[in-house]
Amino acid sequence: MSRSDSLGVFEQVVLTALLTLRDNAYGVTIREKAEQLAHPKRVSIGAVYVTLDRLEEKGLVSSRLSDPTPERGGRAKRCYRLEPSGRRALLDAAVTAKRIWDSAADVWGKNWAKNGAK
């Protein structure tokens, strides 16, 4: 992956949210899931839109407008989907994160994350 295609941390968070939400991934649900993943950081919906826009431009996700619903004042949702290149990019990022985790665990012990959080 070239440098321009490498994923930032928040991009990884948003892609992971898309991966877990599957067919129900749109602005509101993606923000909620991203906030769970980024805990204790707050996630604004504006940051989610900007990131989704960038990821779509990179070709890692795609979107379409869905049916309008009454709880949204009769407005449509923009539903997002992970593209195969997005899955690959997320997998690469996850493999790197796992290597970092394992290396840290070798030095700091297996409970390092729990102890560090205290």
């Binding site: 749109y26 602005g27 509101v28 604004s44 919906i45 504006g46 940051a47 839109y49 900007v50 826009d53 960038r54 779509e56 431009e57 795609s62 979107s63 379409r64 407008l65 869905s66 049916d67 309008p68 619903t69 009454p70 709880e71 949204r72 004042g73 407005r75 449509a76 949702k77 923009r78």
Partner: protein
């Protein structure tokens, strides 16, 4: 289920770029709790989505060429060449250039059609160059006449700049990259 007041939605809808208005208004409506929360959400979301659309619709190289072109147009439209002894020589030409570029950027942010026609682009450029001239006549005349361009320079610079940008946009047509086809289910 509570919904935001219609007037608030209309105001926010007016602020948002058309390319993402539908889904952003829907998301804001779904998250609606009360008026204050809606206003805060809308005011924090709007600048980000506008900037995002500007980034999407603006080609950095064409923008740089446009900036140089507008600046040179005002220099070319000037009767007197900038003097080295004049401390405001460069600033004088930079002010209308910056105004025109800001207007062009905003027009890029609010562009709503995938196939932008030459007429729309021509209008964008006319508005941008008009704003540049207008700034000269209104703002600077009232506050800083020393920063105003001389005599016919604003109108000549505007005309040259307008022609230059139209030529530039004809060579490099704007590549509109909207979020996705605005397709709706049948």
């Amino acid at each position: 289920m509570a919904h935001p007041p219609e007037i608030a939605e209309d105001a926010v809808g007016w602020l948002l770029p058309p390319a993402c208005r539908e889904e952003v208004l829907g998301d804001l409506c779904e998250r609606y709790v009360n008026g204050a929360q809606y206003a805060v959400n809308a005011l924090t979301v709007a600048p980000r989505v506008i900037l995002s659309q500007i980034r999407r619709n603006t080609d950095a190289w064409v923008f740089l060429l446009t900036a140089c072109g507008i600046y040179c147009s005002f220099v070319a439209g000037s009767v007197d060449l900038p003097s080295y002894n004049d401390p405001y020589a460069l600033t004088r030409f930079a002010i209308p250039t910056i105004v025109a570029l800001l207007v062009l950027l905003l027009r890029n942010g609010y562009a709503d059609s995938e196939a932008r026609r030459l007429r729309a682009i021509t209008l964008d450029i006319a508005i941008a160059m008009g704003a540049a001239s207008g700034t000269q006549l209104l703002l600077l005349a009232a506050r800083r006449p020393d920063l105003m361009l001389h005599q016919w320079c604003p109108s000549e610079g505007t005309a040259i700049g307008w022609l230059f940008i139209i030529l530039l946009r004809a060579i490099f047509p704007p590549e509109m990259r909207l979020p996705a086809p605005m397709q709706r289910p049948d």
